[in-house]
Amino acid sequence: MSQVRVLVGTKKGAFVLTADGKREQWEVSGPFFAGWEVYHMKGSPVNPDRIYVSQTSSWSGQVIQCSDDGGKTWYAPGGGIRQSPQGWPVGESNRFVYDTSQETGKPLTTHQFYDGTQHPWEFKRVWHLEPSLTDAEVVYAGVEDAALFLSKDGAHSWQELPGLRGHGTGPKWQPGAGGMCLHTIVLDPKDPKRIYIAISAAGAFRTDDGGETWKPINRGLKSNFIPDPNAEVGHCVHHIAMSPRRPGVLFMQKHWDVMRSDDAGDNWREVSGNLPTDFGFAIDVHAHEPETIYVAPIKSDSEHFPLDGKLQVWRSRSGGNDWEPLTRGLPQKDCYVNVLRDAMAVDSLDDCGIYFGTTGGQVYLSPNAGDHWMPIVRDLPAVLSVEVQTLA
């Protein structure tokens, strides 16, 4: 029988929730890395028991953790597993160094700061880890200050893909309220050289050559909070989702506005339609129906909680514009939590489970594509990320 494993990153550690394919009885393990912020954790599609974790702290910086047994045990790559010829363990996994070498031709060192001045790039943390679709040892990391790093040795060592920061618009990027973070990495399953990323507050970018060169893909986005609302960069993209069944079609939750692209991001159009508010962070696509999409509307950019205290997921079965509220099983009064950008995911069982976590510590599941919801857990620390693995 199939199994489902839900990987939950929280403000105070990581949790692993497991159930069989019925998704009725759940086992909760954790907290792992207790006391640390776990921004994101994700399993390899090639080897689901290989899980990568971003463990971070304002006190002690960035640590990458891994599991090779589906989350039962963990290790920090380079933190003592391998030994050098001299006998000392080799430790490099938490070393993220921006590439400013002349050899790459991209010695970019500053970006725009809140006050409009140029500010040095400073590594702060890893927001998102995206394992390769074809090699369990290969994983991408999106970091703050915004850059994309790649590891080809199971997170033992990391190298920046400098073409992104250096493609030309980098000096115009500026931090959003949450920092200048690269928070979204989407890999194209049909074209291994095509990668989409998103940065707050710079926008969306695409490479078609495996990360060597990049271009902004923000045409059609309008952001009234920047001087030129149609600018090439400067947009606060919150998240991008794509159905692996139809890689050219992208859905975006922007700061305000839900957007859609049918040409791999070259052009975007708004599909907010009848949403009660089109501010939000999370967005995802049904595993089997590429036109069925989900968002969790949030009241506004200054009030990060649901409208009227009613927690609702909205679903469109037409790829946007026509939306319906999904409320059964969700609190419909006095609920003032947020759903963060990486905190929604889907499983690939036949009836497609939808999952999301809240800053109130709940992880909700709908085992029937959103028709009805139930909490898996209610009292975790604030949930930062949710990823789901569907296991044979």
Binding site: G35, S57, W59, V63, G79, G91, N94, V97
Partner: protein, 115 residues
Amino acid sequence: MTRVLRVEIPHHLRTLAQLSGEIRLEVEEPVTLVRVLDALEARYPVLRGTIRDQETRQRRAFLRFFACQEDWSHHPVDAPLPPEVAEGREPLLIIGAIAGGTGLPGRGASRGSGR
């Protein structure tokens, strides 16, 4: 000449490095902060980047160094540590800045991170 000295690190870092209690480190004279940190990171590579930035080697803002009840966080890292620390009679303390909360009972309450 090599000295054996004692180092205490914050709870979260002890957990990360799978340690309990004080660390005893061998350090060549003269015993300085930078030599202690180099020896600590060489022995426990998982701590690289957690006490000081990997690239700039600057102390993380929310961690402090104390020797003989004196804050050494802003002392030159190549200045010799007090003899009591260099000779292992007193530990070098690496502690997390307190930022709210009550911390742990006992010694941790006054010196630990209260997250």
